[in-house]
Symmetry: C2
Subunit: 355 residues, 2 copies
Amino acid sequence: VLIGPGLLKQSPELFEKHQVGERLFLISNPLVSRLFTDDLARDLSRNGFNVVSLQFPDGEKFKNLQTVENIYTDLIDQGADRSITLVAVGGGVTGDVVGFVASTFLRGVRYIQIPTTLLSQVDSSVGGKTGVNHQEGKNLIGAFYQPYLVCADTETLLTLPQREFQSGAYEVLKYGLIGDLEFFNLIASSMKDIQNRTQTVLTDVVRRCCEVKVAIVSSDETEKGLRRILNFGHTFGHALEAVTQFKLLTHGEAIGYGMLAATHLSISKGYLDASSGQRIIDCVRSIGSLPSLESVLIEDILQAMKRDKKRAEDQNVFVLLRSIGNPIISTNIQRKNLIEAWERAKESAQIEVAD
Amino acid sequence: VLIGPGLLKQSPELFEKHQVGERLFLISNPLVSRLFTDDLARDLSRNGFNVVSLQFPDGEKFKNLQTVENIYTDLIDQGADRSITLVAVGGGVTGDVVGFVASTFLRGVRYIQIPTTLLSQVDSSVGGKTGVNHQEGKNLIGAFYQPYLVCADTETLLTLPQREFQSGAYEVLKYGLIGDLEFFNLIASSMKDIQNRTQTVLTDVVRRCCEVKVAIVSSDETEKGLRRILNFGHTFGHALEAVTQFKLLTHGEAIGYGMLAATHLSISKGYLDASSGQRIIDCVRSIGSLPSLESVLIEDILQAMKRDKKRAEDQNVFVLLRSIGNPIISTNIQRKNLIEAWERAKESAQIEVAD
């Protein structure tokens, strides 16, 4: 995993140094192509690589088997063999789809991730999760398959729309909360620099997020135990995405709400002290304002939780905090605690922050 | 890998002993269901397993992504989670499809192979190759994914049609030729018992084939080097299947022809002595008569070889023999040698064997 500003421009040398094969298929969406991939293809071609660019439309609704099959067909039509390398340039959708294609084309070819969003730089580019959606649910089809190389160029984040950048910042905060107190302190104290996308700070923060994730994933590659703590904020978060039909909230915003709810649950269960809780809430709010969810019914949220694929033995798994940086898995949560935590989360989200 | 007569009836105990989970999805085709799976489902249910049976139509043409997607949908509709175990009951197509579904559903669930053909017992049930066809070629989509358990019940072979059984016998012979001389001698001397499907002999032969394969595969899981010797007879064989549109020949018969051609190539290149070559030819012929290929043009075969996905740097890879049990990889084969080897292979196949 390489992280830093300007990596995209250095790709030809980096690919040579890491002995990536000569035949590259760059895969991205039309917008990312205009921003980055067209230039990248040109630079790589000039340096002797044999480059083919493929595109598929942007968005979660194209993260499906049909897109995967279209890419297989393109690869076959171009005479792709096992020596090729797929290069995913873009956000989480591109990375997940391309990783899945790489894991299943000719029983596995090399792939490189070039994540260009904050969310994908800290989250989907490490851990080897690949996959697509099924009409009946997200990420139901997929495989664990490790990229050959990850190049996270923090300069690509300069072009991200503000809301998408903030969405990634919620995931950054998650790594502070499950990682360690010192990292949380860094995030809380550098939030302005993060928001200004200062390259040195972003490089440091993205690297530390990846380190937290690598440490967790490497001890638990197939998600049976420790890896579940990566789902801090996700039990509520996934349910919120589902009840709002993946339209009202970005993934990061849903996790923002989920972290607020998990924080209140941690306090009400007696795990977390109130002043640490307040620090977390303040930090969530410092990222930006969350869309109002006043119209969402708690009963719908609870129903959606029951359909979560990460349920274990009919109980939802919650990741709570004993302290900042010290997560704990809990399955034994009462309905009334959930309702109360949700009410408090909504209140925490709504109050305006003084600047 | 468990091998022997009567294993199917012992499945409930075997599954319990090997701590297979409680929720099982048995997947097979309609014919195999009538022969084996219906009884198996009943036995397992009586022993406390939660069993759902799924079927998809028989044959290579249903080995595609559409079938895979249908199985995903069935699994989701039945509320399948990560604790389930898929059980593939049938031949190579069933094993390959179910293995691929297992490798990609919820990023990987357990699966068990119950191969019911000779070919799948010796070949497709070990090695972790899973996959489906793309409209532009066989097995272009797939993954390496190991089964949790393989139960090869040699009694299931008693119901196999003669031609399909013989087809498997060619693959058995392949393992003798690439494995060791002693195993080849056993196959050659027990061909009558094998053909009569004597259970003790079949158990021994299937086990030894699997041992040869495991030894090769475990030293080379992703097919970069040694594993290629498993393709003895397959360079010609795949080309023959392609030019006859997968209709005239079974896979085993194509490999039978391919082994004859590889034997003649081995002799003409000076690797193999003529008397060993004759022993191999006699053994291939003792399996049965091969369909005539007089109408197939050598030019078409050579063209089909050029499209083989296992080509390396524009040259076809041939597995030849230095002696029986002693294979060697060769890429440097002249066109005239191929034409001559094919002519001799056809002659060897056509001469009637004295009983």
